[in-house]
Protein backbone atom coordinates (compact mmCIF):
# COMPACT_ATOMS: atom_id res chain seq x y z
CA UNK A 1 0.00 0.00 0.00
CA UNK A 2 1.53 3.26 -1.11
CA UNK A 3 -0.59 5.61 0.91
CA UNK A 4 -2.94 4.62 3.70
CA UNK A 5 -4.18 8.09 4.56
CA UNK A 6 -7.67 9.50 4.06
CA UNK A 7 -8.81 13.08 3.68
CA UNK A 8 -12.23 14.65 4.06
CA UNK A 9 -14.07 16.30 1.19
CA UNK A 10 -13.57 19.74 2.78
CA UNK A 11 -9.80 19.25 2.99
CA UNK A 12 -9.71 18.11 -0.61
CA UNK A 13 -11.70 21.09 -1.89
CA UNK A 14 -9.46 23.48 0.03
CA UNK A 15 -6.31 21.72 -1.19
CA UNK A 16 -7.29 21.96 -4.86
CA UNK A 17 -8.65 25.48 -4.42
CA UNK A 18 -5.52 26.84 -2.71
CA UNK A 19 -3.32 25.25 -5.31
CA UNK A 20 -5.16 26.91 -8.20
CA UNK A 21 -5.87 30.23 -6.53
CA UNK A 22 -2.24 31.03 -5.72
CA UNK A 23 -1.27 31.38 -9.37
CA UNK A 24 -4.28 33.52 -10.17
CA UNK A 25 -3.70 35.89 -7.27
CA UNK A 26 -0.20 36.66 -8.53
CA UNK A 27 -0.79 36.57 -12.30
CA UNK A 28 -4.34 37.52 -13.21
CA UNK A 29 -4.10 36.27 -16.80
CA UNK A 30 -7.84 36.68 -17.37
CA UNK A 31 -7.35 40.42 -17.76
CA UNK A 32 -5.40 40.00 -21.01
CA UNK A 33 -7.77 37.47 -22.59
CA UNK A 34 -10.61 38.27 -24.99
CA UNK A 35 -13.06 40.10 -25.12
CA UNK A 36 -10.37 42.57 -24.09
CA UNK A 37 -12.69 45.11 -22.53
CA UNK A 38 -14.43 45.70 -19.19
CA UNK A 39 -16.50 42.49 -19.64
CA UNK A 40 -13.73 40.13 -18.51
CA UNK A 41 -15.53 39.56 -15.21
CA UNK A 42 -18.30 37.78 -17.16
CA UNK A 43 -15.67 35.28 -18.37
CA UNK A 44 -15.05 34.25 -14.79
CA UNK A 45 -18.72 33.39 -14.29
CA UNK A 46 -18.73 31.64 -17.67
CA UNK A 47 -16.02 29.28 -16.42
CA UNK A 48 -18.41 27.59 -13.95
CA UNK A 49 -20.85 25.86 -16.36
CA UNK A 50 -17.97 25.02 -18.70
CA UNK A 51 -15.99 23.44 -15.91
CA UNK A 52 -18.95 21.40 -14.66
CA UNK A 53 -19.61 20.17 -18.20
CA UNK A 54 -16.08 19.53 -19.45
CA UNK A 55 -14.81 17.83 -16.29
CA UNK A 56 -17.45 15.11 -16.72
CA UNK A 57 -14.97 12.54 -18.19
CA UNK A 58 -13.01 12.64 -14.92
CA UNK A 59 -16.26 12.32 -12.97
CA UNK A 60 -17.51 9.24 -14.83
CA UNK A 61 -14.06 7.63 -14.78
CA UNK A 62 -13.95 8.12 -11.01
CA UNK A 63 -17.42 6.58 -10.76
CA UNK A 64 -16.32 3.55 -12.75
CA UNK A 65 -13.04 2.94 -10.91
CA UNK A 66 -13.75 4.08 -7.39
CA UNK A 67 -10.84 2.27 -5.71
CA UNK A 68 -8.22 3.27 -8.26
CA UNK A 69 -6.42 6.50 -8.97
CA UNK A 70 -5.97 8.03 -12.40
CA UNK A 71 -2.60 6.38 -13.05
CA UNK A 72 -3.95 2.97 -12.10
CA UNK A 73 -7.07 3.01 -14.23
CA UNK A 74 -5.26 4.15 -17.37
CA UNK A 75 -3.43 0.81 -17.16
CA UNK A 76 -6.66 -1.02 -16.31
CA UNK A 77 -8.39 0.44 -19.37
CA UNK A 78 -5.64 0.33 -21.99
CA UNK A 79 -3.31 -2.41 -20.71
CA UNK A 80 0.40 -1.84 -21.39
CA UNK A 81 -0.05 1.31 -23.55
CA UNK A 82 -1.76 2.85 -20.53
CA UNK A 83 1.65 3.20 -18.94
CA UNK A 84 2.69 5.40 -21.86
CA UNK A 85 -0.27 7.70 -21.16
CA UNK A 86 0.77 7.75 -17.50
CA UNK A 87 4.34 8.73 -18.37
CA UNK A 88 2.99 11.50 -20.62
CA UNK A 89 1.02 12.85 -17.67
CA UNK A 90 4.09 12.65 -15.43
CA UNK A 91 6.09 14.71 -17.92
CA UNK A 92 3.21 17.20 -18.08
CA UNK A 93 3.11 17.45 -14.29
CA UNK A 94 6.89 17.97 -14.09
CA UNK A 95 6.59 20.70 -16.70
CA UNK A 96 3.76 22.37 -14.78
CA UNK A 97 5.61 22.16 -11.45
CA UNK A 98 8.67 23.72 -13.04
CA UNK A 99 6.49 26.43 -14.59
CA UNK A 100 4.81 27.20 -11.25
CA UNK A 101 8.10 27.42 -9.42
CA UNK A 102 9.53 29.66 -12.16
CA UNK A 103 6.49 31.94 -11.94
CA UNK A 104 6.87 32.05 -8.17
CA UNK A 105 10.52 33.06 -8.25
CA UNK A 106 9.84 35.69 -10.91
CA UNK A 107 7.01 37.16 -8.84
CA UNK A 108 9.16 37.35 -5.71
CA UNK A 109 12.25 38.74 -7.42
CA UNK A 110 10.18 41.33 -9.28
CA UNK A 111 8.06 42.71 -6.47
CA UNK A 112 10.01 42.18 -3.24
CA UNK A 113 13.59 40.92 -3.23
CA UNK A 114 15.22 41.88 -6.49
CA UNK A 115 18.84 41.12 -5.55
CA UNK A 116 18.37 37.60 -4.18
CA UNK A 117 19.18 34.96 -6.82
CA UNK A 118 15.99 33.12 -7.93
CA UNK A 119 17.71 29.77 -7.43
CA UNK A 120 17.71 30.36 -3.68
CA UNK A 121 13.90 30.70 -3.52
CA UNK A 122 13.40 27.69 -5.75
CA UNK A 123 15.63 25.33 -3.79
CA UNK A 124 14.48 26.34 -0.30
CA UNK A 125 10.78 26.24 -1.16
CA UNK A 126 11.01 22.93 -3.02
CA UNK A 127 12.94 21.22 -0.22
CA UNK A 128 10.36 22.36 2.35
CA UNK A 129 7.50 21.26 0.08
CA UNK A 130 9.20 17.91 -0.43
CA UNK A 131 9.18 17.52 3.34
CA UNK A 132 5.42 18.22 3.43
CA UNK A 133 4.86 15.70 0.65
CA UNK A 134 7.05 13.23 2.54
CA UNK A 135 4.60 13.33 5.44
CA UNK A 136 1.76 12.05 3.28
CA UNK A 137 -1.65 13.23 2.20
CA UNK A 138 -3.29 13.36 5.63
CA UNK A 139 -0.96 15.92 7.15
CA UNK A 140 -1.05 17.90 3.92
CA UNK A 141 -4.85 17.98 4.12
CA UNK A 142 -4.85 19.12 7.74
CA UNK A 143 -2.24 21.74 7.06
CA UNK A 144 -4.36 23.10 4.21
CA UNK A 145 -7.38 23.31 6.49
CA UNK A 146 -5.28 25.65 8.62
CA UNK A 147 -3.72 27.68 5.81
CA UNK A 148 -6.55 28.12 3.29
CA UNK A 149 -8.78 30.20 5.63
CA UNK A 150 -5.82 32.52 6.33
CA UNK A 151 -5.39 33.09 2.61
CA UNK A 152 -9.11 33.65 2.08
CA UNK A 153 -9.35 36.11 4.97
CA UNK A 154 -6.37 38.07 3.69
CA UNK A 155 -7.82 38.30 0.16
CA UNK A 156 -11.29 39.26 1.44
CA UNK A 157 -9.77 41.79 3.85
CA UNK A 158 -7.86 43.37 0.97
CA UNK A 159 -11.04 43.57 -1.11
CA UNK A 160 -13.00 45.14 1.78
CA UNK A 161 -10.24 47.69 2.36
CA UNK A 162 -10.43 48.67 -1.29
CA UNK A 163 -14.21 49.01 -1.56
CA UNK A 164 -14.19 52.74 -0.85
CA UNK A 165 -11.96 53.41 -3.88
CA UNK A 166 -13.96 51.33 -6.34
CA UNK A 167 -16.06 52.81 -9.08
CA UNK A 168 -18.93 50.65 -10.42
CA UNK A 169 -19.09 52.82 -13.55
CA UNK A 170 -15.96 51.02 -14.81
CA UNK A 171 -18.13 47.98 -15.58
CA UNK A 172 -20.15 49.90 -18.18
CA UNK A 173 -20.90 49.47 -21.08
CA UNK A 174 -22.14 46.00 -20.43
CA UNK A 175 -21.63 43.12 -22.94
CA UNK A 176 -20.02 45.40 -25.48
CA UNK A 177 -18.77 42.63 -27.75
CA UNK A 178 -21.39 39.97 -27.10
CA UNK A 179 -21.20 36.71 -25.23
CA UNK A 180 -19.09 34.57 -27.56
CA UNK A 181 -15.58 35.86 -26.62
CA UNK A 182 -16.50 35.30 -22.99
CA UNK A 183 -17.26 31.70 -23.83
CA UNK A 184 -13.78 31.27 -25.26
CA UNK A 185 -12.14 32.81 -22.21
CA UNK A 186 -14.23 30.55 -19.98
CA UNK A 187 -12.59 27.70 -21.87
CA UNK A 188 -9.19 29.28 -21.22
CA UNK A 189 -9.90 29.51 -17.48
CA UNK A 190 -10.99 25.88 -17.50
CA UNK A 191 -7.81 24.86 -19.31
CA UNK A 192 -5.61 26.46 -16.64
CA UNK A 193 -7.34 24.27 -14.10
CA UNK A 194 -4.91 21.34 -14.15
CA UNK A 195 -5.89 20.58 -10.54
CA UNK A 196 -8.52 18.32 -12.13
CA UNK A 197 -5.73 15.79 -12.73
CA UNK A 198 -4.78 16.06 -9.06
CA UNK A 199 -8.45 15.49 -8.21
CA UNK A 200 -8.51 12.32 -10.29
CA UNK A 201 -5.37 11.07 -8.53
CA UNK A 202 -6.52 11.96 -5.00
CA UNK A 203 -10.15 10.76 -5.19
CA UNK A 204 -9.41 7.23 -3.85
CA UNK A 205 -8.22 8.85 -0.61
CA UNK A 206 -11.59 10.50 0.03
CA UNK A 207 -12.98 9.13 3.29
CA UNK A 208 -16.60 8.97 2.13
CA UNK A 209 -17.08 7.85 -1.40
CA UNK A 210 -20.45 9.59 -1.61
CA UNK A 211 -18.75 12.96 -1.18
CA UNK A 212 -17.45 12.80 -4.75
CA UNK A 213 -20.29 15.07 -5.89
CA UNK A 214 -19.46 17.61 -3.17
CA UNK A 215 -15.88 17.85 -4.39
CA UNK A 216 -16.90 17.91 -8.04
CA UNK A 217 -19.32 20.82 -7.55
CA UNK A 218 -17.83 22.62 -4.54
CA UNK A 219 -14.34 23.10 -5.96
CA UNK A 220 -15.36 25.02 -9.13
CA UNK A 221 -17.92 27.14 -7.26
CA UNK A 222 -15.36 28.27 -4.67
CA UNK A 223 -12.83 28.90 -7.42
CA UNK A 224 -15.17 30.94 -9.61
CA UNK A 225 -16.40 33.05 -6.70
CA UNK A 226 -12.83 33.98 -5.78
CA UNK A 227 -11.67 34.56 -9.33
CA UNK A 228 -14.70 36.78 -9.90
CA UNK A 229 -13.89 38.77 -6.74
CA UNK A 230 -10.30 39.32 -7.86
CA UNK A 231 -11.16 40.37 -11.39
CA UNK A 232 -14.05 42.62 -10.36
CA UNK A 233 -11.86 44.31 -7.74
CA UNK A 234 -9.06 45.03 -10.18
CA UNK A 235 -11.40 46.36 -12.86
CA UNK A 236 -13.51 48.50 -10.53
CA UNK A 237 -10.38 49.95 -8.98
CA UNK A 238 -8.21 50.74 -12.00
CA UNK A 239 -10.54 50.50 -14.96
CA UNK A 240 -9.75 48.05 -17.74
CA UNK A 241 -7.35 50.22 -19.71
CA UNK A 242 -4.99 50.74 -16.80
CA UNK A 243 -5.31 47.18 -15.47
CA UNK A 244 -4.17 45.53 -18.68
CA UNK A 245 -0.84 47.36 -18.61
CA UNK A 246 0.07 45.78 -15.26
CA UNK A 247 2.04 42.58 -14.85
CA UNK A 248 0.65 41.74 -11.41
CA UNK A 249 -2.75 43.50 -11.32
CA UNK A 250 -3.97 42.26 -7.94
CA UNK A 251 -0.66 43.00 -6.27
CA UNK A 252 -0.77 46.54 -7.65
CA UNK A 253 -4.28 46.84 -6.22
CA UNK A 254 -3.00 45.85 -2.78
CA UNK A 255 -0.27 48.48 -2.92
CA UNK A 256 -2.89 51.22 -3.24
CA UNK A 257 -4.52 50.33 0.09
CA UNK A 258 -4.59 53.32 2.41
CA UNK A 259 -7.00 53.56 5.32
CA UNK A 260 -6.89 56.95 6.99
CA UNK A 261 -3.14 57.25 6.31
CA UNK A 262 -2.53 54.74 9.11
CA UNK A 263 -2.90 51.32 7.51
CA UNK A 264 -0.63 51.36 4.52
CA UNK A 265 1.81 49.06 2.72
CA UNK A 266 0.08 45.87 3.76
CA UNK A 267 1.53 43.94 0.81
CA UNK A 268 4.11 42.15 2.98
CA UNK A 269 1.30 40.48 4.96
CA UNK A 270 -0.28 39.49 1.69
CA UNK A 271 2.96 38.01 0.34
CA UNK A 272 3.39 36.03 3.58
CA UNK A 273 -0.07 34.48 3.19
CA UNK A 274 0.65 33.89 -0.48
CA UNK A 275 3.87 32.00 0.34
CA UNK A 276 1.97 29.70 2.70
CA UNK A 277 -0.43 28.86 -0.12
CA UNK A 278 2.41 28.34 -2.55
CA UNK A 279 4.03 25.92 -0.15
CA UNK A 280 0.81 23.87 -0.19
CA UNK A 281 0.68 24.06 -3.97
CA UNK A 282 4.19 22.79 -4.54
CA UNK A 283 3.74 20.06 -1.93
CA UNK A 284 0.60 18.89 -3.72
CA UNK A 285 2.31 18.90 -7.13
CA UNK A 286 5.32 16.97 -5.83
CA UNK A 287 3.09 14.51 -3.99
CA UNK A 288 0.89 13.79 -7.00
CA UNK A 289 3.90 13.41 -9.30
CA UNK A 290 5.80 10.96 -7.10
CA UNK A 291 2.61 9.04 -6.35
CA UNK A 292 1.97 8.80 -10.09
CA UNK A 293 5.49 7.56 -10.81
CA UNK A 294 5.20 4.93 -8.07
CA UNK A 295 1.82 3.75 -9.32
CA UNK A 296 2.97 3.47 -12.92
CA UNK A 297 6.11 1.47 -12.08
CA UNK A 298 4.40 -0.44 -9.24
CA UNK A 299 6.82 0.71 -6.56
CA UNK A 300 6.17 0.00 -2.89
CA UNK A 301 7.25 3.39 -1.54
CA UNK A 302 7.11 6.85 -3.05
CA UNK A 303 9.23 8.76 -0.53
CA UNK A 304 12.74 8.04 -1.94
CA UNK A 305 11.66 9.67 -5.22
CA UNK A 306 10.99 13.11 -3.72
CA UNK A 307 14.54 14.49 -3.61
CA UNK A 308 15.51 13.20 -7.09
CA UNK A 309 12.30 14.79 -8.44
CA UNK A 310 13.20 18.13 -6.82
CA UNK A 311 16.67 17.87 -8.35
CA UNK A 312 15.04 17.45 -11.75
CA UNK A 313 12.45 20.24 -11.35
CA UNK A 314 14.99 22.91 -10.36
CA UNK A 315 17.08 22.82 -13.61
CA UNK A 316 13.94 22.55 -15.76
CA UNK A 317 12.48 25.63 -14.08
CA UNK A 318 15.68 27.59 -14.71
CA UNK A 319 15.26 26.71 -18.37
CA UNK A 320 11.64 27.88 -18.42
CA UNK A 321 11.91 31.05 -16.41
CA UNK A 322 14.63 33.07 -18.13
CA UNK A 323 12.41 36.12 -18.50
CA UNK A 324 8.85 37.04 -17.75
CA UNK A 325 7.86 38.09 -21.28
CA UNK A 326 8.59 34.67 -22.77
CA UNK A 327 6.79 32.95 -19.92
CA UNK A 328 3.70 35.13 -20.21
CA UNK A 329 3.65 34.39 -23.92
CA UNK A 330 3.48 30.69 -23.15
CA UNK A 331 0.72 31.02 -20.54
CA UNK A 332 -1.32 33.39 -22.72
CA UNK A 333 -4.70 32.38 -24.14
CA UNK A 334 -3.16 31.77 -27.59
CA UNK A 335 -0.85 28.92 -26.60
CA UNK A 336 -1.67 27.48 -23.22
CA UNK A 337 -5.26 26.17 -23.69
CA UNK A 338 -4.35 24.08 -26.73
CA UNK A 339 -1.58 22.44 -24.72
CA UNK A 340 -3.40 21.84 -21.43
CA UNK A 341 -6.82 20.92 -22.84
CA UNK A 342 -5.26 17.76 -24.32
CA UNK A 343 -4.47 16.60 -20.82
CA UNK A 344 -7.55 17.71 -18.94
CA UNK A 345 -10.24 17.04 -21.51
CA UNK A 346 -9.29 15.16 -24.68
CA UNK A 347 -7.27 12.24 -23.25
CA UNK A 348 -9.74 11.60 -20.36
CA UNK A 349 -12.62 11.77 -22.84
CA UNK A 350 -11.12 9.06 -25.04
CA UNK A 351 -10.20 7.02 -21.97
CA UNK A 352 -13.85 7.13 -20.91
CA UNK A 353 -15.01 6.09 -24.40
CA UNK A 354 -12.54 3.19 -24.39
CA UNK A 355 -13.68 2.12 -20.92
CA UNK A 356 -17.31 2.10 -22.06
CA UNK A 357 -16.57 0.20 -25.28
CA UNK A 358 -14.30 -2.38 -23.64
CA UNK A 359 -16.62 -2.67 -20.62
CA UNK A 360 -13.89 -1.97 -18.08
CA UNK A 361 -14.93 -1.08 -14.57
CA UNK A 362 -18.54 -0.99 -13.50
CA UNK A 363 -20.71 2.05 -13.23
CA UNK A 364 -22.16 2.56 -9.77
CA UNK A 365 -24.46 5.54 -9.62
Amino acid sequence: MLEGGKITSKQMILLLFTSRMITWIAFLFVIFAPPGNQDVWIDCLMALPLQLLLALPFYFLAKRFDKQSFFEYTTAILGKPGKGIGILYILFLIHMSALSIAQFSIFLTTVLMDITPPLFFKITLLILSAFAAYKGIESLGRFTELVAPIGMIVVLGVVLALVKDMDPKEFLPFLESGLFPSFFTGLYIFSTNIELIMMAVLLPFLNHRGKLNTVYIGFPILLVVFLFTLTATVIALFGYDLAKTMTFPFYSAIRTISLGNIIERVESIFVAAWLLGLYVKMALYLYVTVLGISQIFRLKVYRPLLLPLVSLIVPVSTLLGKNIVEMNEFTSFEIYPWYALNFIFIIPFFLLLTAIVRRKGEYRP
Binding site: F297, L305, P308, I313, L319, L320, E326, F330, E334, I335
Partner: protein, 69 residues
Protein backbone atom coordinates in the same frame (compact mmCIF):
# COMPACT_ATOMS: atom_id res chain seq x y z
CA UNK B 1 33.40 26.44 -8.43
CA UNK B 2 29.76 26.05 -9.48
CA UNK B 3 30.59 22.75 -11.12
CA UNK B 4 32.01 21.43 -7.87
CA UNK B 5 28.94 22.65 -5.98
CA UNK B 6 26.57 20.84 -8.35
CA UNK B 7 28.57 17.60 -8.15
CA UNK B 8 28.67 17.90 -4.36
CA UNK B 9 24.89 18.46 -4.04
CA UNK B 10 24.02 15.52 -6.25
CA UNK B 11 26.50 13.26 -4.47
CA UNK B 12 24.92 14.17 -1.14
CA UNK B 13 21.41 13.42 -2.45
CA UNK B 14 22.60 10.08 -3.85
CA UNK B 15 24.29 9.22 -0.55
CA UNK B 16 21.13 10.04 1.41
CA UNK B 17 18.91 7.98 -0.89
CA UNK B 18 20.83 4.92 -1.98
CA UNK B 19 21.98 3.01 1.16
CA UNK B 20 18.44 2.71 2.52
CA UNK B 21 17.06 1.38 -0.77
CA UNK B 22 19.91 -1.12 -1.15
CA UNK B 23 19.44 -2.36 2.41
CA UNK B 24 15.72 -2.96 1.86
CA UNK B 25 16.42 -4.52 -1.57
CA UNK B 26 13.98 -2.16 -3.33
CA UNK B 27 15.64 -2.41 -6.74
CA UNK B 28 12.79 -0.93 -8.81
CA UNK B 29 12.72 2.13 -6.57
CA UNK B 30 16.48 2.41 -6.88
CA UNK B 31 16.32 2.32 -10.69
CA UNK B 32 13.57 4.95 -10.94
CA UNK B 33 15.12 7.34 -8.44
CA UNK B 34 18.58 7.06 -10.02
CA UNK B 35 16.99 7.73 -13.41
CA UNK B 36 15.40 10.95 -12.11
CA UNK B 37 18.60 11.93 -10.35
CA UNK B 38 20.70 11.32 -13.48
CA UNK B 39 18.35 13.42 -15.62
CA UNK B 40 18.49 16.22 -13.06
CA UNK B 41 22.27 15.99 -12.89
CA UNK B 42 22.70 16.12 -16.67
CA UNK B 43 20.40 19.14 -16.99
CA UNK B 44 22.04 21.05 -14.12
CA UNK B 45 25.56 20.18 -15.24
CA UNK B 46 24.99 21.32 -18.82
CA UNK B 47 23.54 24.61 -17.59
CA UNK B 48 26.36 25.20 -15.14
CA UNK B 49 29.14 24.69 -17.71
CA UNK B 50 27.37 27.21 -19.93
CA UNK B 51 25.68 25.19 -22.68
CA UNK B 52 22.46 26.83 -23.91
CA UNK B 53 19.66 24.29 -23.69
CA UNK B 54 16.41 24.76 -25.64
CA UNK B 55 13.41 26.04 -23.69
CA UNK B 56 10.65 23.37 -23.64
CA UNK B 57 8.00 26.12 -23.79
CA UNK B 58 9.32 27.16 -27.20
CA UNK B 59 8.78 23.63 -28.51
CA UNK B 60 5.19 23.54 -27.27
CA UNK B 61 4.58 26.99 -28.76
CA UNK B 62 5.91 25.90 -32.14
CA UNK B 63 3.67 22.82 -32.21
CA UNK B 64 0.57 24.79 -31.15
CA UNK B 65 1.21 27.52 -33.72
CA UNK B 66 1.67 24.88 -36.40
CA UNK B 67 -1.78 23.42 -35.67
CA UNK B 68 -3.77 26.58 -34.99
CA UNK B 69 -2.56 28.86 -37.78
Amino acid sequence: MKVIAVILVFTVIALIQTPDLVRKKQWRELVVSSLLLTLGFILSFLQVIGIELPNPNKGVEAVVRFFTS
